[in-house]
Amino acid sequence: MTHSQSSGRRCDALRRRQFLRGIGVAVALPAMPSLARQRAVASESPAANEMATTSTGAPLRIAFMSIPNGVQQDHWFPSDNFELNDSMRPLESLRDHFQVISGLDHVHATPGADGAGDHARANATFLTGARARKTAGSDIHVGVSVDQVAAQTFGHLTRLPSLELTSDVIRNSGACDSGYACAYQYNLSWSSPTTPVTPEPNPRQVLERLFGSGDPASRVNNYLLRQEADRSVLDFVLEESRDVERRLGAHDRRKFDEYLTVVRELESRLKSAEQFREPPATDMPTPRGTPTDFGDYMQIMYDMLLLAFQTDSTRVASLLLAYDGSNRSFPQLGIPEGHHHLTHNQRDAALAAKVAKIDQYYIQHFADFLNKMSQTEDVDGNSLLHNSMIVYGGAIADGNRHTHENLPVILAGHGGGAISTGRHLRVASQPMANLFVTMLDELGTGVGQLGDSTGRLDLAAT
């Protein structure tokens, strides 16, 4: 990066601060703290500043949304020439900003030798492309998820390496799906094959984590106080941890390492927070808690994600809209039956129509999010949506038969102009992970392989 480019971008940041006030979610920005970091990194390794950046130098972001229980396929997939079907109707006005990809599979979501438990398994496979070890809890193992690979490669560029969210807090007690540990069913993101990254269900906590607690006027100060307090406490925690580690037996140590990794990561983040000292600000009111209406709930979590991207607090996110197997009913749509129950409809047309209606409901909220993304200007004058790659889908194709081929996948955003949109891309049957490694390539991570990936997709803009 040359000097003139970086100072040019600082102007962009100023411009951005001016215009962001008043759009959907109003945001005021500090002078792009991550840029300082980028410059520092650039002098050490020339390749690093290429990461997660568009050709114009704007941040390039990725996000993953998961929907449960597959889709009603005959209502969902568009025609070859991209005429949208019922379920995708809400995306009509955004048709130039996304594409539907068919032909992607998750072979590790199939039963194989593992038998029942398709929902938990699919949930665990979706972003990892790996097969979840069938265990009720003692030796959980799946794979690192695509978002976490990204976070681990360029997460240091932003205030938070990644953001994991959910709009589903329903938990059944007792054993989870057919002998699978609950971790598989309730987490999308995995920072190691054995470590799920718990998603945050509380919008209030997300906002306070990003911007500080209290009313808008006191947030910045509270944020700084929190950082200061955390720093001193963490020093103590690390000393204590070293004492504890010294005394643990071999087996205990394995589990404790998971904890130590987190504490060390947090410590290094707080140290590097010198660059991120001044938090971004927003005058969005603090959410009071979790909305009772599911639509409102999805919307507020999407809003939190938008805020995080807008302020460049992170470039990586996952949002578990509802865990796979969710049996939520939709009285607001006149559907009293449970979603999961309805998907096993044995092709009864009336029941299938209800599933399609639920699919559309999920898409509607996704479309609202994309709309806001498309109306929010990024530092380079393009929209946030332009500078993003957003995957929406799941690891079950047909919820009735539990197939895992030709999965429902939407890829929204233009990747900063690098990828083509406005089409139904039919690819030869291949692993979903091929899409993920292609995205990681676009982000410049240099990661060769993920899960069961066998190659790349051609997404290039023509």
Partner: protein, 851 residues
């Protein structure tokens, strides 16, 4: 000091390494494979799993030697489970004699599982983090405040059916941030940062009384006029501040109601304002008062806003029924007089500080800080704390309190934040009594660790003073039985019921499950059309002006509306409590656990009794109710909790109900899973002109051998419960077709209805149930998944239950006295536990072991 010595000894043990003596199985037992075991397997299993047959991909006759046979413990574990549950040999084949089964079981346990029955290995346990509810309870007990961890922390991921398993309790950056945040918030609320404050007193809702009744509450219904009053007495005249915290909440369907509120102090108006619906909104008002000594009165009045004249077309119509609005004075805090000389300690001062005020001189301050922090940290860490930790904490405290303007208490509070963020607080770190045998691979946990194991099992919180005192004196093991009794009769043992029964029988889920009563009871369409009708007209409809037809329709609408609301929080609570109270009853009277399968009593209040169609139970209080001789109720499988949580939002699921019984009551092992699930094609065309019943659909399912392997186990159990709808209410038919609850279990027993099924379960499957409940409770108690190495431990507890008629105390004592609960691995036994490898001692470790 004691701890240091202990650890040095443990380190030495680890660094030396040992030769395992338990690995070579004794030869006589190995011989018994050829002599005794092989012929039995040939006789009972050979037709299907030998001589070239391999049903379910299982063969039992291909081993060249006894050693080869013993080398596949996972296979023998399956064999053992299937034999014990009676699933194998199949129902129509010859059965093993008890002695033959015992012979096989013994060989499997001692040879294939390599269990030393005289020296049971406790197994490998991961260090456990406090889960969300344990953390909340521990904080509340330690700090003396109510802390609701569910507001800040996400739910934990369970493993093996419980949310307290070390291996399943994971850690993430977000969680660490939350622990830091929580530590600050908790200390901020609980720990005083000054020594003296103005005198103060606080009134709460129950201090307020209605003029005309005995009800004590300051929560007022926005649709009814009411006045509540309270008084406070002060003995020193002067300037006081009165801070009132108010709350506005409610819900409405068509139109919210409005009302005015008047708040008076000593007859003087302090607040007069109109309110309407609010979504849990809180606000605080502060009033300055100059008071004389004596009584002072507070009065809160509410008056509904009367509907405006009908002519302006904006009245409330007939919809007020659906509106609920409330105004509440949550608390009233009086502080003063502002210039008093009689300052007092803030709340909870004595909980954390031991002197009236901190000393002023530096060295004395340091000594006092050390004393205060040691006292606190010993409790927080649930065992004696190291000097090095105290030194660090005192430094943190000093850094703060040595600053100008800062108080001593602020410094202490800052250090306490660090304590609550420490891994020694967040994790349950355990120590072992140094074993005499230097080669030992496991030993007894020390008394502090045992105290924590007991308190987290029975109370889901930290040990109390008595447990600490006993542990400190090394007297806890000697008083174990007496302590268990004391702990079980303490109120905190409700946590055991909430958390253990809540997850085992899933009663926790009753509050969140969504069931639509109108659909379940078949009124959905009628209700929707009535609702549309009245919604479109609500603006102008007044009941007294309705036509007779409208009036009847409206009455019907209200009736259906009340049906829609029937599955409300009161009923849900009653449903959850029924199951919990049945369990509590068995615990407190030390009755047989078999009463969970079938009993001639249950626990009901009026609402739940009405739900069950049982007459003669009045009032909201839950109490023991004797059931009629032919009653279908009594026993978990007929309780609404189980029936509801296994249902879909609009209908029952016999499959889920069957699975619940197999998983949670019988522990019947899962059959080999099918590779792929075939689709049920065109069900409608199979049944010609009629809509197939659930029973017919499931029967079609079972025609496929692949499906039958599972569904033959689940379906008969679930179909026997079809007389209970998705809300757990009785029904004789569904969609006009009579329900046929008869069937037979995979083990062969036949039954005509749920009454007979319960009897079959209780009479024929008591051993399965004992084994199942033992496994559940052992898992919960020791915080890890069980494996085949635990079979002997389980067997002993099951034997104890059988010999003591299933009494709860035999289960509880059996679990607490078991090796996994009493002991802890120091290192992995090398030959038995191949999966966990010993990490070579680190350089730091080596340093510790240097003399």
């Amino acid at each position: 000091m004691h701890i240091h010595v202990l650890f040095v000894r443990l380190m030495v043990v680890i660094s030396i390494g040992t030769i395992c003596e338990t690995c070579s199985a004794d030869s006589t037992s190995l011989d018994s494979y050829d002599r005794d075991i092989k012929p039995l397997l040939q006789k009972y299993c050979g037709d299907c799993h030998g001589g070239g047959s391999s049903d379910g991909n299982v063969t039992l006759d291909h081993f060249q030697s006894a050693e080869e046979a013993a080398a596949v413990p996972e296979l023998w574990w399956k064999v053992l489970k299937n034999l014990r549950s009676g699933v194998m040999p199949p129902a129509d084949s010859p059965r093993l004699e008890d002695s033959e089964l015992e012979q096989i079981a013994h060989w499997i346990k001692t040879q294939a599982f390599q269990i030393r029955t005289d020296h049971i290995d406790p197994g490998s346990l991961s260090v456990r983090r406090l889960n969300r509810s344990e953390y909340g309870n521990t904080v509340s007990d330690l700090m003396g405040i109510e802390f609701d961890a569910a507001l800040l922390f996400p739910p934990e991921d369970s493993g093996g059916g419980f949310d307290n398993l070390g291996d399943a309790l994971t850690f993430s950056p977000m969680l660490m941030e939350k622990y830091l945040q929580a530590a600050r918030a908790i200390v901020g609320e609980a720990v005083p940062t000054v020594c003296k404050v103005l005198p103060h007193q606080t009134l709460v809702g129950s201090d307020f009384q209605r003029e005309d009744s005995k009800t004590r509450s300051s929560r007022l219904d926005g649709k009814k006029s009411a006045t509540v009053e309270a008084t406070a007495s002060i003995d020193e005249p002067g300037d006081y501040t009165v801070a009132c915290r108010f709350k506005v909440d409610g819900s409405f369907e068509f139109d919210p109601a409005r009302y005015t509120v008047l708040f008076r102090i000593d007859g003087q108006e302090r607040l007069s304002q109109e309110f309407g619906w609010g979504d849990d909104q809180y606000f605080t008002q502060t009033y300055d008062e100059n008071w004389s000594a004596g009584e002072h009165a507070f009065e809160l009045s509410l008056e509904p806003v009367v509907a405006k004249a009908a002519s302006d077309g904006d009245d409330q119509g007939g919809s007020r029924e659906d509106t609920s609005v409330h105004f509440e004075l949550v608390s009233l805090r009086i502080e003063g007089p502002t210039d008093t000389k009689r300052l007092v300690h803030p709340d909870r001062y004595e909980r954390f500080f031991t002197r009236d005020e901190p000393p002023l001189e530096n060295a004395q301050r340091e000594a006092y800080a050390t004393e205060v922090l040691r006292r606190f940290t010993n409790r927080a860490y649930r065992g004696p704390v190291d000097d090095s930790t105290i030194d660090r904490l005192v430094k943190i405290a000093q850094e703060t309190y040595r600053q100008p303007e800062a108080t001593f208490e602020q410094g202490i509070a800052r250090a306490m934040v660090a304590v609550l963020a420490s891994p020694r607080f967040l994790f349950r770190l355990e120590n072992v009594v140094p074993p005499e045998d230097p080669d030992a691979t496991f030993g007894l946990v020390d008394e502090y660790s045992l105290a924590s194991r007991l308190s987290y099992l029975l109370w889901s919180t930290m040990p109390d003073d008595e447990l600490f005192r006993l542990a400190e004196g090394g007297m806890l093991r000697a008083h174990l039985a007496q302590q268990i009794d004391r702990m079980m009769s303490d109120d905190r043992s409700r946590q055991f019921v909430r958390n253990f029964v809540g997850q085992w029988l899933r009663t926790r889920d009753v509050t969140q499950i969504v069931i639509d009563p109108l659909v379940v009871l078949g009124y959905e369409e009628e209700f929707q059309s009535l609702r549309e009708n009245f919604r479109s007209r609500s603006r102008r409809l007044r009941e007294e002006e309705m036509s007779e037809d409208d009036r009847q329709l409206f009455a019907r609408y209200r009736e259906l509306r009340s049906i829609q609301d029937r599955f409300d929080s009161d009923l849900r609570t009653a449903i959850r409590r029924e199951t919990e109270m049945c369990f509590e009853h068995i615990v407190s009277e030390d009755r047989s656990l078999l009463e969970l399968l079938d009993s001639d009593y249950t626990f009901l209040n009026e609402k739940l009794a009405e739900h069950y169609d049982i007459p003669g139970v009045d009032g909201s209080e839950m109490r023991r109710v004797e059931l009629a001789k032919d009653s279908v109720r009594g026993g978990v499988v007929t309780q609404a909790s189980m029936l509801v949580i296994t249902s879909n939002p609009t209908r029952t699921s016999p499959v889920k109900r069957g699975l619940f019984i197999l998983d949670n009551l019988l522990g019947t092992p899962a059959p080999p899973a099918p590779g792929s699930v075939p689709e049920l094609e065109d069900s409608a065309s199979r049944f010609g002109d009629h809509e197939p019943t659930l029973r017919e659909l499931l029967a079609a399912h079972r025609e496929n051998a692949l499906c039958a392997s599972c569904h033959a186990r689940m379906d008969p159990l679930g179909l026997a419960l079809e007389n209970f709808n998705a809300l757990g209410m009785w029904r004789d038919s569904e969609h006009g077709q009579a329900i046929d609850p008869s069937g037979s279990l995979i083990t062969g027993e036949e039954f005509q209805d749920v009454r007979e099924l319960k009897r079959v379960l209780k009479d024929q499957h008591a051993a399965d149930f004992y084994r199942c409940v033992t496994q559940k409770m052992l898992t919960y108690a020791i915080g890890r998944s069980l494996d085949f190495r635990d079979e002997e431990t389980i067997d002993r507890i099951v034997q104890r239950l059988e010999s003591q008629d299933g009494r709860f105390s035999s289960l509880l004592q059996g679990v607490i006295e078991s090796a996994p609960f009493q002991k802890l691995r120091i290192k992995a036994p090398e030959t038995v536990d191949l999966s966990s490898k010993i990490t070579p001692p680190s350089t730091e470790l080596a340093k510790v072991t240097q003399p």
